[in-house]
């Protein structure tokens, strides 16, 4: 399969603090990769840097998306090239309704289809509220996925889709991720990819991932079968990572 994203020797800092170093990573069209790691290891920093948030400064290395060097591109340029992100805790934007914002960002999704997706995600009653205004944790996640479904990025970064979501709604979130990635389509049409950060691994019960990694202490380690990695973490925590690296 063709390569979609390639990260070469990436080093990141936030202010004066180095958060990631020497990260090499790639993923192909249609693949789903999962990132594990303890709190503060640098998982969110990694995807925020890939998305181009200026707070996460690339001090070393390059990022290529669909063969193009995007290291110097800003967030909206990367988004327009086909990158998308589902935030763990998105900000509230009062006065800008979810409905209006989806009209602005829609990549050709009709109003009717948008309403159908919103209904499926139990968000019909939230369309006229300000973005994330008074949304619960689960509503925020579903709103993020709803926006991404009308935006239709080729590669989506999903930061902890299960955090703050009750068990009942994790299945809904998982289903939405599969829809977003086109997993319901015929195999040959599946070209959308995802990089998912998960703490608990619950999302793996609903989304099939191709590969897993651990980010530990600012480094990307342990690439392999995501279920095996999760089983290892469940058994030993991240203690062995310190030795393994």
């Amino acid at each position: 399969m063709q390569e979609m994203l390639r990260v070469e020797n990436l080093g990141l800092s936030i202010g004066d603090r180095q958060v990631l170093q020497g990260v090499n990573f790639s993923m192909n069209y249609g693949e789903v990769h999962v990132l594990f790691g303890p709190n503060g290891a640098g998982k969110t920093s990694f995807i925020m840097a890939l998305m181009g948030f200026p707070k996460y400064k690339v001090v070393q290395g390059r990022i290529y998306f669909k063969g193009e060097d995007i290291t110097e591109k800003d967030i909206s340029e990367r988004s327009r090239l086909g990158l998308g992100i589902s935030f763990q805790r998105p900000p509230t934007v009062r006065g800008v309704s979810l409905r209006k914002f989806m009209e602005i960002i829609s990549d050709g999704t009709s109003k009717e289809d948008t309403l159908k997706i919103a209904e499926k995600l139990n968000l019909l009653n939230h369309l006229d509220r300000g973005l994330n205004e008074g949304f619960s944790g689960g509503e925020m996640k579903r709103s993020e996925l709803l926006q991404l479904m009308v935006q239709r990025p080729d590669l989506v970064f999903i930061d902890e889709p299960e955090s703050g979501v009750d068990l009942e709604n994790i299945a809904l979130v998982g289903e939405a991720i599969n829809t977003l990635l086109g997993k319901e389509d015929k195999l040959k049409e599946q070209k959308r990819s995802a990089l998912i950060i998960t703490h608990t691994g619950h999302i793996l019960d609903f989304v099939n991932a191709d590969k897993g990694y651990i980010i530990f202490d600012g480094k990307l380690i342990c690439g392999g079968n995501p279920r095996d990695i999760l089983a290892e973490i469940k058994k030993h925590g991240y203690r062995r990572c310190a030795v393994c690296r």
């Binding site: 998308g84 934007v93 800008v96």
Partner: protein, 416 residues
Amino acid sequence: MSISKTYLSDIRERAEKAKEKKAALGPDIDLLRYNQHIERGRIESLESLPQQEREAAVMAGINVKEEVRSGSYFQVDHSVVYERLNKLYEGKLEIMSTAEALKKYDWLEDYYWRAVPVDQDKYTAQAELNMTHGYFIRVLPHQKLEYPVQACLLVAENYVSQNVHNIIIVEEGAELQVITGCTLSKGDAEGIHLGISEFFIKKGGKLFFTMIHNWADKFHVRPRTWAIVEEDGVFVSNYVLLRPVKSIQAFPVAYLKGDRASAKFNTVVYGLKDSYIDLGSRIILEGEDTRGESIARTIAADESVIYARGDLVAKTKGYCLAHLDCRGIVFSNKGKIFAIPQLISEGALKAELSHEASIGPISEEQVEYLMSRGVSREDAVSVITSGFLNLDIPFLPQVIDRNIKEVIQATAKESM
């Protein structure tokens, strides 16, 4: 039958005594400078207005085709040039100039200068001593009008002091929406607009009042507004200022006299050039179980100075609940905002008054969030600013919405 000469004489006497009295707030204006008296002839329809005046009216929210309007009142300088009542509402609604109403109804003595004190300052005094019309709108008991009444107070010439006295009476159980556009037809006009507005909302009545101000660099404005709300009455006031003004100072009051009365002020102010803007709202909660809310959104661009005031005054013996929400964004390093919320309880043991006031830049986190969906930085700032000013004012014409967007696009870049 007109109102009594004794009452008028008393009013005049009080006005005479106050004609040099400076206002408590705002720069003092030399009224003698604005001494032109301009009379105009009647027009057949709003569409027959001269182009410049028609365009100014449209930008101030006036529908010149009079579609979805219950009636219209149009004043240019010192003359009423047009009044029309939609035939559907004959016998339910009255629209005329206040001067005419004072001649027609002796009972107007119970309303005229009964809310706003005539001797409040030199501007109220001038409005009485040199009154040049203003509108009288009355909706009869239990009439609920589907569409708003529109009124336009336009100044077309230089050195004019337009001294209008508006009276709105919403009789018991009635409902009325009013859109008032106050504007200039010349962008370089120099003058002053003095607008006295006295609103009376009777038992169970509802008044939704929207005022759009479009002024210019050399123009002063001193509105004086009081709304008296009786039991179960509702008063909603929306105010929009998106153009430069030399100076404006107003502190409209909603006096919740009756039990369960409520008032809400929505204020949207965009300070441009070197505008001096001192605006506020005061809600006096006297009846029991009264409710008040005052929301202000202000943006100071260029060298504008904005005072955003808000007073909640609880006087009730029973329960009352009121909240002030005042937010500002400064777009320019020469712009200034003073947010001055004030909560006052005068022995109101059960009153719950609260406020939140903030001044801050557009959140970078919000901008980046929108950018992550493919929106450019410039558009993200524009969308957020537009949302910040969006108070969902019903019947606000699309032209005002467009105007808001244009102003934002022209000035929001400064903040980036």
